[in-house]
């Protein structure tokens, strides 16, 4: 009887379990120290776990991510049930920053792309690679390369889709002007993977905490690109 009860309890637990938000997503290795480095004036931080498959409208968000990232999602690193961790940084009671990380596959292994964001303007304050397994790691981690991302928003990435096709020389294409520190060299694919990681991170941040404020740019880029393609025909 005891065995039966134990077995029943186990089955009930498994059957009744709701899929919960995982809190073990792409996390900072030492949140307190890493966040302090990014925001020296901070006093406290909050961690929030996000997982698309447990969020209301998660399926639609996942589809949106796929469409907006502009390339296939990796079946190991970028699944529907991949957990994410969002850090909100405070000075006293004031929100002074948001930090979020994603994993993307690179040529040499995993690339963990963390963005420290301005909570109001949704601009990148700082790009930080946590884990970067690449022959080009040194060049990609160099401040000169990472600095090129400061001030960019998701809108700049959507605009890049249009400018790349319609006017590659445009000085409005801020993303197109980002210079690869390893052009043609070993690990050059990891430059593209890193830029893709930044874009993916920004899309998720737009979904998670910026109330999709960059959607008009995505829609406009799509329309404009369609016109360019129609013109080419």
């Amino acid at each position: 009887m005891r065995r039966l009860l134990l077995a029943l309890a186990a089955v009930c637990l498994l059957a009744g379990a709701r899929r919960a938000e995982a809190a073990v997503g792409c996390t900072l290795s030492n949140p307190a120290r890493d966040l302090k480095f990014l925001y020296p004036a901070m006093t406290t931080y909050r961690e929030e776990a996000r997982q698309l498959d447990t969020m209301p409208g998660g399926k639609e968000m996942f589809e949106a991510l796929k469409e907006r990232i502009g390339s296939d999602l990796d079946p190991v690193y970028e699944t529907y049930d991949t957990p994410y961790t969002l850090y909100t940084v405070y000075r006293g009671e004031e929100v002074i920053g948001i930090v979020h990380g994603v994993n993307v596959p690179g040529k040499g292994g995993v690339i963990q792309v963390f963005l420290s964001m301005d909570p109001k303007s949704a601009e990148i304050r700082q790009l930080v690679f946590q884990r970067l397994e690449s022959p080009a790691a040194r060049a990609l981690k160099a401040e000169a390369f990472r600095k090129q991302f400061e001030g960019l928003t998701l809108a700049d990435f959507y605009k890049h889709d249009y400018y790349r096709a319609a006017d590659p020389q445009s000085d409005k294409d801020k993303v197109g002007r980002i210079a690869s520190p390893v052009k043609g060299g070993e690990g050059s694919e990891d430059f593209a993977a890193s830029v893709r990681g930044v874009r993916k991170n920004l899309i998720l941040l737009d979904l998670f905490c910026y109330n999709r404020r960059h959607e008009p740019f995505f829609e406009r880029a799509k329309e404009a690109l369609a016109k360019v393609k129609a013109g080419e025909k």
Binding site: R46, A155, A224
Partner: protein, 430 residues
């Protein structure tokens, strides 16, 4: 003679200027598709996207949280529920051991409006064991034939516990330094605190070294400085159940490299000390001299440990090398333990191979034996090969699914004869 002036450069210049002017005019005629989305450039003009472009900034002070039911509060946010299935069969010397389980893990974090302040983690398993034999990942299971409800991790972390006493400046200065842990978790010796061996067949040293790999404890952990972390605990020294049988318990301290070394160089490592009294029936059974001096199962214990792990990316995947070593004593017996492991994981994260050598030496032979009793040997050592095919191997370890074949060849035994143990394991954690 005055050189003859040519008109050609002026003509070329004029032509170029005209071309540029035409190009500029025609470019100006093209409408930038994003122009009307850029609010700063179009201020004063009707912008159909203005309300989207300029959303209300977030409030300076977070709004007070809406009242929630206790269930929403507990399960609604930062609550993780993971399920686990493990099916394992081991074969050795004609004996077949089946160990099957279903389990779950909960992880909950609590936050105030401005800070995450606590986390709770618990792992449970309902296990069915038939004909248990000694295998590396189930030392505690030898006496648990049949059904058994087990807990593994069971602990509460309180983050930045002195914050209520600190000014904002002090909070910032000591962020991550004073975290408090109470409950049951891995011992602060070796790499176990940084390694999840919950589902693996290959284990680290602690279970064999102390008789348990987890213990009940309370103490502090956190950041010591930019390069080092610390763990400092009082441990009950009782292993699975929290119990007092006269032992004083142990103090455990570990200083380890900051996680940034792992991120930047693939390097983990630390030094650790554990001293005091623990309960260990196995240590008493193993050594006559320990049995003679121990107070029942209470064993006077001292260990100093050194550990390191190095992960290196290779063109087809990752190589990881692990070392754990401890020296010390059980009562008056000197003890020396070593563990070496090399592991390869293919880039696809689908296939893994690992090899491990472990050796536990204890200076058992100094005391006279009872007549007719065989003196135990000084060394337990074995070599193991582990092959894994992963169906899922999430980099964050939040989804794991594998089949594993593990072959362990025991080279020397303190008690009994060396055998070969073959284990086949199916594991899923999601």
């Amino acid at each position: 003679m005055e050189p003859k002036r040519s008109t050609a450069p002026f003509v070329r210049l004029a032509f170029t200027a005209a071309l540029l002017a035409w190009a500029a005019a025609s470019h100006a005629g093209e409408k930038d598709p994003f122009e009307d989305l850029e609010k700063p450039k179009r201020e004063g003009e009707g912008d159909p996207f203005e309300d989207i472009e300029a959303p209300k900034p977030p409030p300076e002070k977070p709004a007070p949280p809406k009242p929630k039911s206790w269930t929403d509060d507990l399960f609604g946010q930062n609550f993780t529920f993971k399920r686990e299935i493990m099916l394992q069969t081991s074969y050795s010397d004609g004996e077949l051991y089946n160990r099957h389980s279903v389990g779950f893990e909960v992880l909950k974090k609590w936050s105030t409006p401005t800070a995450t302040v606590a986390a709770f983690n618990a792992q449970f398993r309902f296990v069915r064991r038939d004909n248990p034999i000694e295998v590396s990942n189930d030392g505690e299971g030898m006496e648990r034939e049949g059904w058994y409800g087990e807990f593994h991790n069971f602990y509460l972390d309180l983050y930045n516990v002195f914050n209520p006493l600190m000014s904002d400046e002090a909070k910032g200065a000591h962020l991550g330094r004073f975290n408090f842990r109470i409950g049951r978790f891995y011992l602060p010796m070796g790499l176990n605190l940084q390694t999840d061996t919950h589902g693996t067949v290959l284990q680290l040293s602690n279970e064999r070294n102390f008789g348990f790999e987890r213990d009940w404890y309370a103490g502090f952990w956190g950041t010591l400085n930019p390069y080092l972390n610390y763990d400092l605990y009082y441990l009950l020294g009782s292993g699975y159940y929290p119990k007092f049988k006269g032992q004083s318990g142990m103090v455990g301290a570990r200083v380890s490299l900051a996680d940034s070394f792992n991120v930047d160089y693939g390097l983990q490592g630390g030094v650790a000390l554990m001293a005091g009294e623990r309960l260990s029936e196995m240590a008493v059974m193993r050594s006559p001299s320990v049995a003679m001096r121990a107070d029942g199962d209470v064993v006077d214990t001292f260990r100093a440990g050194l550990d390191a792990r190095y992960r290196r990316t290779v063109p087809t995947g990752w190589l990881t090398f692990t070392f754990e070593g401890t020296a010390g004593r059980d009562e008056r017996d000197d003890v020396l333990t070593q563990l070496y492991e090399a592991e390869y994981l293919h880039r696809s994260r689908k296939v893994g191979v690992a090899a491990q050598f472990r050796r536990f030496w204890q200076d058992i032979g100094r005391d006279p034996m009872m007549p007719g009793m065989k003196r135990p040997d000084d060394v337990d050592s074995s070599v193991a090969l582990d092959l894994t095919y992963y169906f899922r191997n999430d980099i964050t370890q939040s989804n794991l699914h594998w089949v594993k074949l593990n072959i362990e060849r025991q080279l020397q035994r303190q008690m009994g004869s060396p055998e070969t143990v073959i284990t086949l394991q199916y594991y899923r954690y999601w």
